[in-house]
Each structure stands twice: as structure tokens, then as C-alpha cells.
Amino acid sequence: MKLEGINDFVIRFANVNGSGSASANALFAKSLFRLGVPVSPKNIFPSNIQGLPTWYEVRINEKGNLGRRGGYDFIVAVNGQTLKRDYEGLAPGGYFMYDSARQLPADFARDDITLINIPLTQICNREIEDPKLRQLLKNIVYVGALAHLFGMEFSVLTDSILSQYKKKPKLAEPNIKALTLGFEYAATHFQDTCKLKVKRSNKLTRHILMDGNTATALGALYGGATVAGWYPITPSTSVIEAFDKFTSQYRLDDSGKKRVAILQAEDELTALGIALGASWNGARAFTATSGPGISLMNEFLGLAYFAEIPVVLIDVQRTGPSTGMPTRTQQSDILLCACASHGDTRHVLLFPCDPKECFEMTADGFDLAERLQTPVIIMSDLDLGMNDHICLPLEWDDTRTYDRGKVLDKHQLESLTGKWGRYLDKDGDGICYRTYPGTHQRLGSYVTRGSSHDEFAAYTEDNDTYQRIMVRLGKKWQTAKGLVPKPDIKLTDTAADYGAVFFGTSTQASHEAIETLGSQGITINTMRLRGFPFQDEVKAFIDRHKTIFVIEQNRDGQMRTLLISECGIRPDKLVSITHFDGLPVTAGHISYSIEQILKAQMQQGGAQ
């Protein structure tokens, strides 16, 4: 038996990192995208620079299900270190492509798979003159072979190469040659071998294929960020790298000077300190980090909360605790970020689910932070940040203006009646008026501090005053509910007993799982959370169902905990569906888990 199908399979590439496979594999994924076929590539890479195993997994799904499916139907196994593992993990009926320079050991004896051996090394040694290029082009040869096996339009691949090397056409030549060599070899030796096929589709029209970190950087560019402090950490580094790249192009004055200051700091604490100092002084500023950095930043997050300084913080989450698995994904900083720092603190969180939302929520994050005068944390993750995702095009409304919040300028200060107080709640929404340093010669100066202060920013140890300020911050938190993005709710059946709650990168797999369950007659309404604090809608959605599945990628059900405590939900009503091995959650895992829970519920109910 051979696996068959059109535009519906998973292919894995098993490579050695640092061997140049990344660009070849990306070329393959990009070509599928250009054929209009929904595709989702995931890089599964080590925390290492060279020599360790790395996998690239591409799901192709005509229906547009883009979460991880789990399992693989085709493997390009060119890493000797993992050959056995890759061989054994292949789905029955699958295809095993390998370099015939390597003899498969005797214990590779499956009879339920198809072997496709291509003499990659031999072809390259024979045909590619430049020995330095041979290793790299081996990867391109197998892409060429895949194109034939899957019946892909060859011109899409060559066009991709040509556009990739537009500026260096000399480099395109050997790449196209390698593609052709692979294609022809497969055509002669494996004419009708593969029953998995790719066909041009019309599923993608205006879409783009972008990683979340690039989109986040564009959000910061468009949101008007002028200061960034940062400290390198996977998987957030590429946010700043992209911001640097875009600002070097779009933030120069006529003499080439920069309208941005990007500073690599000595640690994450300083990175956030830089952003806070700049924000305090009237610039839009941000930093990007991951869990270990958030741990360090706690001290400043408390200061920003209490002294009411806006800032945008990008958390590209990875697998914790501690150093954890630096190159694997998780949604496990929820509680840490929601309540970072000592004392009573609460932070605004946004949960993007695709690059488009990374862009929008980052740009909006600056408005929100300045409106609320508090940190706003964008909860991305490694899967979203570092993998390419198909999404609708990013758009910017040119009529939009930045909302800088309640900031008094010189004239406003002069026309004030009554005494101005930095922490005086004039409007009753818990948000006070601030001033930037240097605004006025006589008016509006104050000392910002993380120690207890009164409405006029003066240091105080008066208990009533302290308490009044804390209560007012609580009021501001209520105001925030009306400003953070609302949840995305889908009520398939208004009378359904079951609801599912998820957010961020659990979205795609959750939708797919719930669709699968729906086809089995199990109706589940869904709510995708987009922001914290939770609005009344969040509680109302939970209230209207008997059981809620909270789907998230951490061990302890952190979002569930937050929902219970913030919305006052009875704990047994919220059932955790967790996934935390470091790989993106699969639809199969979710649907299976829900089925098991429902079965158990039914048995329990039956015994009563």
C-alpha cells in the first residue's frame, strides 16, 4: 500500500544544521505557496550552530488546515545521525528518500514503505565543478527530485530561484542546474513511484508567507517606535534584526542619519530600562525577549506598572522553565507576564495568532500602552515568531494617527484650572495626565518613582493615600477591558454544551480538531482569546456552556488558572487540554484528548 493524495500530506526533511539545508527547504515550501497551495512549514531545530540534527516539516493541506498534523508521510532523510529514527517514524505507506551514497543497514527492513534512493553525493561530485558548492547544492538536487515526484510545475521552482538571486544571477545558474539534475534523475528512475501529488490550487490569492517576528518588527516600524533596547535571545532576536533592517531602509533622513536608536544592552533588565526611560521621555519604545528575559525584567515591569510608564514588550515564548529548550515552542509565560513583579500587579497581554496579528497588535500595542500608561506585552511564541505562516496581507490605514494618550503640552498646561497632579484621576477612568520632561519652563515637572506617591507624585507613606492610588490603578484596569481586543467567538450552536477556549498558535490546530469533532456530531463553540484583561464577553461565553475545554501549550493550564481567578469560574467547569513537549500542538492531540474526556464524562454519567 502506498499513501496517496493530492495536496494533503506532510513531508519532513531530516538535515544536519549548518549544512545549508534551510534555504533549500524554504525554497520547496515557498514554491508550494506560489502554487497557491496552503502550506505550513515548521522548523524543528537544535540550540546549536553546526552539526546537530534539524528537521523541517511541511504540511500541505488543500482545506487550509495549517496547524501541525503530526506524523509524516514522506521523509527526505539526509542526516546519518537520525536515519534510524526517521525511518521508524515514517507513516505506513510512506516514502523514504535517502542518499544512495549510504547503504541502508540490514535492520532497515520495513516492507510497508517505499524507498527512494537518489545518489545525491555522486550527482553533485560528478556534475558540480566547484567543490565548495557541492554540499549546498545536494539539498537543491533533492528539491528538484521532489518536484518531479510530486508532479510540481518545475517553472515555479526555477522562478523562485531566479527571484531569490535577482541581484546575483551568477548564483542562480548552478542552483537551477542542481534542480534540473534532481528532477531528471527522479524522472528516469522513479517515474510513477510517488502517489502523493501537488496540484496548483486557487486557495491562496492575496496571501503572504511571512514569519511572525518580521511582522512584529514591521508593527514596531509602523507603530512609530524610535527606541529599542534588547539583548540577544532565541527566539526573539530576529524581531530586532528585522526592525534594524527595516529602519535602516525606512528611517533615514536625507543625510543618512537614523530616526531610531537601537541599543544592544548588557542584559534584559537594561533592555527594558532603556525602553522605559525612552517612553518616559516621550518616545515610543520597545524591547523583545523570551521567557528568561521576562524573568529578569520583572523588577522593571513592577516599576512601569506602579509609576505608570507605557512600554511595549514582545515576548516570543519558548520552552521553559529556566533555559529549558531554547529552540522549542510553548505558551508558558502566561501567568508570569500577567502578574510580573512583586506586589499587586497586572499587565495587559495581547495574543496574536498569525503574522498579520503580530503586525497589528504590535502597532496597536503602542497606542494601547500610551493610552493606558502601562506595559503592554505581546505574547508571541517560537512557532509564530520563527516559522513562516500563510496569512492575509498586512495593511496600514494611512488616515490613522497615533494615539499618544493623555499627555499635556505647553499650552494645555498653561490653560489648566486648578493644580495639575501627575496621578490625579480627572476623568474618572483611572488614567491620569502625564507630561514629558522639558515641556514647560515652570509647569508640569514631577519626580517619577517606584516608591509610594500621592496624586501629585510626592513620596508618601500615608496609608490611605497609598491605598487610594492602588484602588485607582484597579479602576484603570477596568478601563483597559474596554480597550484590549475582544475575543473571537464562534457560536456554531447557541444551545451547545461545550465550548473551547484557545489563543495564539493553538488556534489553527484547535479549529481543525473542533471541525473533526463536529463531523462526528460533537458540537463545540469556540472562543479565541485576544487580550487580557478579559472582558465580560469572555465570562459570558464560559457561562453559557456546561464544560469548557481550555486548550494551551503548557503543562499547568496557565490560561485556565487565569480565567478561573479573573472571571471567578468554578474550576471543574474548565477542563485543560495541554500540550507541552516543545513542538507545536497538533489537531490530532486536541481532538483525541477531548474525545477521551467526553468518554470519561459519559461513563461517569452512566454510573450515577
Binding site: I208, G273, A278, A285, E395, T448
Partner: protein, 350 residues
């Protein structure tokens, strides 16, 4: 309270070039212990800013946590201030300066705030050569937490509890010179004559200026066994070459004898005249500057004055090549490239 201020204003108070009196540079009443060195430094800061005729609203006061870091409330009441968290003032100051390069940044820290918890940030703000004045109110102890030894306490020195400091002390000035600070000075809170011009020169210097001011803690570390007491410092203090600081736009009237004076011109036209005495060192060079500190230390003396000055360094903005306009005043049209550009950008992701 060591200084209560009378509420009335004397009409004949002298005014500076901007028409401000010294009062215009004062802050709220201090809550530090009577006789605390830190209050004298606050006063010196007030004097320096008044004499330089700085616009008070053009100054930002930055600090960390400690008795010393409380002082920004006690000077420059018309300036914005940021009393941040323990040891983290350098990062806040860095961000503030990135946002608005046109303000004057005066940072105040303690020896605990700088030499222990904030050492990492301190070293790196020096490396970045941030355009700021960084004043350490150095009392060799943690005043606010009741007198524990700090990392600048000399080994063997003992405060009120009578226990000798066990570990090697850190000389912040020597450290700053070693990592390339462009302006390094040491003063004494009890010597206003020297301190005020030191601060004026530091403020005028472009780039990072460290002023380490020995500032006795009268409550916990002013004992006969302490090397940060008023008495010890008075007895052991020596100055590098004496100097005159001529602020920019002031006519130079004094005549100096040829060969006895070295002049350093500051970036905005101010001039420092260093009067060489016998054995005085060339403080414009890093190595002799450090040698001098080591030499005096061996002799058991405390070297004060301008310890090192180098006017040729680029500050953070110059290094990053940012625009002259303060980043916080750039308009939206200069920041946001618009939808047309966005569509071009995303086209490369198709």
C-alpha cells in the same frame, strides 16, 4: 531635616544670565540626616546649574535607590526627575537620552547603588559614553539600610558598628578611566570650592562624566576608624593640578604663565585650564591618570580633582548616528512609511 527653606523671596537676590535666582534651582526640603554629606552635594548641584545658567526644565534628574538617590527631590524642583529602582538608573538614563538628546541628564547614585547592585549597568553606561553626568554620593556604606559596608569601603575601615570592612574596595574612578570614560573627577562633599567647578566642568563635558564625591554618612560611617569620615578625608585629601573652569561664552580674562597651564576646550566652547604643579600628571592620557591614582593610593592619600579628561570621544548618539532632532519629537510622517511602502514590502513575501 537638615535644611528648611524660608518661604519668602528676597527681591535683591542675584540673578544669572537667564534671570533666574539660585532659588529657582532648589527643590523640596531634604529629609536626610542633619549633616549628611549628600545635602552638601545637592547644594553644589544647585550652585553649578545656577552658575551655568541652565534652563531648569531642560535638565532631567535620574537616580536609583538609597539616601543618595532620594536627593533629586531636593534640588532642581522645576526639572523632571526619575527616581528609579536600585542600581538601574543607568538604563533608564540611557533610554531617556536616546529619546531626547537635547536635555541635560544629571544622574545621582550611591556607592551601593553603583558599585554593587548596579555595577553591570554602571560599567556599560560608561562604555556607551552616554552624554550624562553621573554623580556617586560615596559614603562607603549603605545609608538607607542602616550602615552595612559597601564595595567602596576601604579594607580595614570601620563604621559605627566597629567591624572592619573585609574585602578589597572598588575605586570607581579608576575603573571608569580603565573602560574609557571621557571625564572622571573626584570631589569631597566638604569642599564646595572644588566641587562646584568640578560639577560645572562635568556638566559641560559632552559624553559620560563621572563625579565620585566622598560624602560622609554622619549617622553610620563618620567614625575615627572610617576612611570616609569628614576628618579622614580632610586629613588625607590631595588635589591633582588645580584648575579653572571657564564656561562657554565667558570672556577669558585671566592670563596664565606659559608652560604652567594646560588648556582643554570642551565641545561647546567651555575651557578647562589645568595648572601644573610639580609632579603633576597629564590627565588627558589614560595611563598616567591611572598611575596617579595608584600612586596616591600607595601613599595612603586620596586624590581629588579632575582625574582624567578626553574631549575627543563620540557619545552614544554620535556612535549610533541618530538624527539631530530629538527622537521624541519626530512627527508621524517621519516615522511611518505608509501603506504604499507596506504593500511593496509584503510583495517580497509572496
Amino acid at each position: 531635616m537638615s535644611s528648611t527653606r524660608p518661604g519668602f523671596r528676597h527681591p535683591d537676590l542675584p540673578k544669572n544670565d537667564l534671570g533666574y535666582t539660585r532659588r529657582d534651582y532648589e527643590g523640596a526640603a531634604s529629609t536626610l540626616c542633619a549633616g549628611c554629606g549628600h545635602d552638601s552635594i545637592s547644594n553644589a548641584i544647585i550652585n553649578a546649574c545656577y552658575e551655568l545658567a541652565l534652563e531648569p526644565s531642560g535638565i532631567a534628574k535620574m537616580s536609583g535607590i538609597g539616601c543618595s538617590s532620594k536627593t533629586p527631590a531636593y534640588f532642581l524642583g522645576k526639572s523632571h526627575g526619575f527616581n528609579s529602582v536600585h542600581g538601574r538608573m543607568p538604563s533608564i538614563a540611557t533610554g531617556a537620552d536616546m529619546a531626547n538628546r537635547d536635555l541635560v541628564y544629571i544622574g545621582v547614585s550611591g556607592d551601593g547603588d553603583t558599585a554593587s547592585i548596579g555595577m553591570g549597568q554602571f560599567i556599560h553606561v560608561v562604555r556607551r559614553n552616554l552624554n550624562m553626568v553621573y554623580i556617586v554620593m560615596n559614603n562607603g556604606c549603605y545609608g538607607l539600610t542602616k550602615g552595612q559596608d559597601s564595595a567602596t569601603a576601604d579594607r580595614g575601615s570601620a563604621g559605627k558598628k566597629g567591624r572592619q570592612s573585609l574585602f578589597e574596595s572598588i575605586d570607581l574612578c579608576e575603573l571608569a578611566i580603565a573602560i574609557g570614560a571621557g571625564f572622571v573627577a573626584r570631589g569631597f562633599s566638604g569642599d564646595k570650592e572644588q566641587l562646584v567647578p568640578l560639577l560645572k566642568a562635568a556638566i559641560t563635558h559632552k559624553g559620560f562624566a563621572l563625579v565620585d564625591v566622598i560624602s560622609p554618612c554622619v549617622t553610620f560611617n563618620n567614625t575615627t576608624t572610617s576612611t570616609k569620615s569628614y576628618q579622614w578625608v580632610r586629613d588625607h585629601m590631595e588635589a591633582t593640578a588645580t584648575f579653572d573652569f571657564i564656561p562657554p561664552r565667558k570672556e577669558i580674562t585671566t592670563q596664565y604663565e606659559k608652560g604652567t597651564t594646560q588648556s582643554v576646550t570642551l565641545h561647546d566652547g567651555g575651557v578647562i585650564h589645568l595648572h601644573k604643579s610639580d609632579g603633576s600628571v597629564d590627565i588627558t592620557q589614560r595611563r598616567p591618570a591611572i598611575d596617579a591614582l595608584e600612586l596616591y593610593r600607595e601613599k595612603g592619600r586620596l586624590l581629588t580633582g579632575i582625574l582624567h579628561i578626553n574631549e575627543s570621544l563620540k557619545d552614544t548618539h554620535d556612535i549610533l548616528e541618530t538624527v539631530e532632532t530629538p527622537l521624541n519629537s519626530l512627527a508621524e510622517k517621519e516615522l511611518c512609511p505608509g501603506n504604499q511602502v507596506l504593500q511593496q514590502i509584503i510583495e517580497t513575501y509572496r
